[in-house]
C-alpha cells in the first residue's frame, strides 16, 4: 500500500507542477511535498507555490486569486491521475481576474473531450466558453425552474 501511494503521489506531483505552469507561467515554481516521507500513509501533504518570481514563505501569503488557481492546479492534478466522468465547479471562478478566468476555461475545454464539465457561474467569459447553458430562475416566488439558454447571446 505504501508503494502504491508513493507511486500515485509521484504522478500527482508531476501533474500538479505541469498544470500549475499552464495556469501561471512556464518558468514558475511549485511543488507538493510529504512533510513526513518516512510515513507517507499518514503524512501531511504540503503545497509550495512561487508564481512570477515571488517568494512567499507559505501559500497563505499568496493573493486570493493566486490561491484559488493553486488549488485548481491540485484538483486537476488529481483528476489527471483518475479522470472522473464528470466534474462540477460551483462559482470557482469568482476570485479570478479576466486573464485567469480565460486560462481556467481553456483548461476545462481541453479536458472536456474526456469528461463532462458542469460549471455554475456568474462570469460572462465563462458563459461564453460553455457548449450549452441552462438558466435557473424563480418565476414563482421561492420556486426554482430550469430553462435552456440560447448561447448565441453570450458567445
Amino acid at each position: 500500500a505504501k508503494e502504491a501511494f508513493m507511486e500515485a503521489f509521484g504522478k500527482i506531483r508531476n501533474n500538479f507542477i505541469q498544470v500549475f505552469r499552464s495556469l501561471f507561467s512556464a518558468e514558475d515554481k511549485a511543488d507538493l511535498i510529504l512533510a513526513n516521507p518516512e510515513n507517507p500513509l499518514e503524512s501531511v501533504i504540503e503545497i509550495t507555490a512561487q508564481p512570477k518570481g515571488k517568494r512567499p514563505l507559505t501559500i497563505d501569503q499568496l493573493s486570493g486569486g493566486e490561491k484559488t488557481l493553486t488549488a485548481i492546479s491540485l484538483l486537476f492534478a488529481l483528476y489527471l491521475l483518475k479522470p472522473a466522468p464528470f466534474c462540477i465547479f460551483d462559482e470557482v471562478d469568482a476570485p479570478l481576474d479576466d486573464a485567469n478566468t480565460e486560462k481556467f476555461n481553456k483548461i476545462i475545454k481541453e479536458f472536456s473531450g474526456e469528461s463532462q464539465f458542469i460549471i455554475v457561474t456568474h462570469n460572462k467569459r465563462t458563459m461564453a466558453s460553455a457548449d450549452i447553458m441552462y438558466g435557473v430562475t424563480m418565476l414563482t416566488q421561492g420556486v426554482s425552474s430550469v430553462v435552456p439558454v440560447d448561447l448565441r447571446e453570450y458567445a
Partner: protein
C-alpha cells in the same frame, strides 16, 4: 459513464418537477443569486449518496425537502433521479442506461432505486466505487472546498489524495 439527465422534484427550492439534459462538453448553469443553482449541485451530491447534511448546507436531512413559501405548502417528499449512459461499462450493470433515484419523506423514510428497482443506499455507493465520483468527490468543487484544500482543514488534502490514488 456519461451523465444523461437530472430530474428534481420537491428537493430544496425545486417544488416543481425540473429536468436538465446533459450533453458532451461544458454545460453552464447560470441565473440570479438565490435562484437555485447550488441547489442543483446539492441534488447531484444527494442522489449520489451524500449523507453528511453539512455538505448539503443543512442541519438535518429533513431540510432538503421543499419547505414551502408564503404562497405554497411544503412538500411531503424530496426526489432526485440521475440517469447515466453506461457507455464505458464503468457501472457494473448490464444496462446501457442506469437511473439512480433517491427519495426522502418528511416522515424520515428513505427510498433508493436503481432502474426503478428498490435497493439500499450501499448499492448506490458501490455503483460508483473507484470511478472518482460519489459523495465528497474531488470532482464536485465549490469555493468552500477550495478554502479547505488551501488550509488543509482536518486533513482534507490527505482525503482527496487517497480517493484519487
Amino acid at each position: 459513464m456519461k451523465l444523461s439527465r437530472l430530474e428534481i422534484k420537491g428537493f430544496k427550492s425545486f417544488a416543481e418537477h425540473a429536468v436538465i439534459n446533459f450533453n458532451e462538453g461544458v454545460t453552464g448553469i447560470v441565473g440570479p443569486n438565490g435562484c437555485g443553482k447550488s441547489n442543483v449541485v446539492d441534488a447531484i451530491r444527494w442522489v449520489l449518496g451524500e449523507q453528511k447534511t453539512k455538505a448539503l448546507r443543512s442541519d438535518k436531512m429533513e431540510n432538503v425537502i421543499f419547505n414551502g413559501t408564503e404562497k405554497r405548502k411544503p412538500a411531503a417528499l424530496a426526489q432526485v433521479s440521475l440517469t447515466f449512459d453506461n457507455n464505458r461499462n464503468l457501472l457494473p450493470a448490464e444496462y446501457s442506461q442506469v437511473t439512480i433515484t433517491r427519495r426522502y419523506y418528511r416522515t424520515g423514510d428513505s427510498e433508493y432505486l436503481i432502474n426503478d428497482v428498490r435497493c439500499r443506499l450501499k448499492d448506490i455507493h458501490n455503483l460508483f466505487l473507484d470511478t472518482g465520483i460519489g459523495a465528497d468527490s474531488y470532482a464536485i468543487i465549490e469555493l468552500k472546498k477550495v478554502d479547505e484544500l488551501l488550509n488543509d482543514k482536518e486533513g482534507s488534502r490527505r482525503d482527496l489524495f487517497e480517493k484519487a490514488a
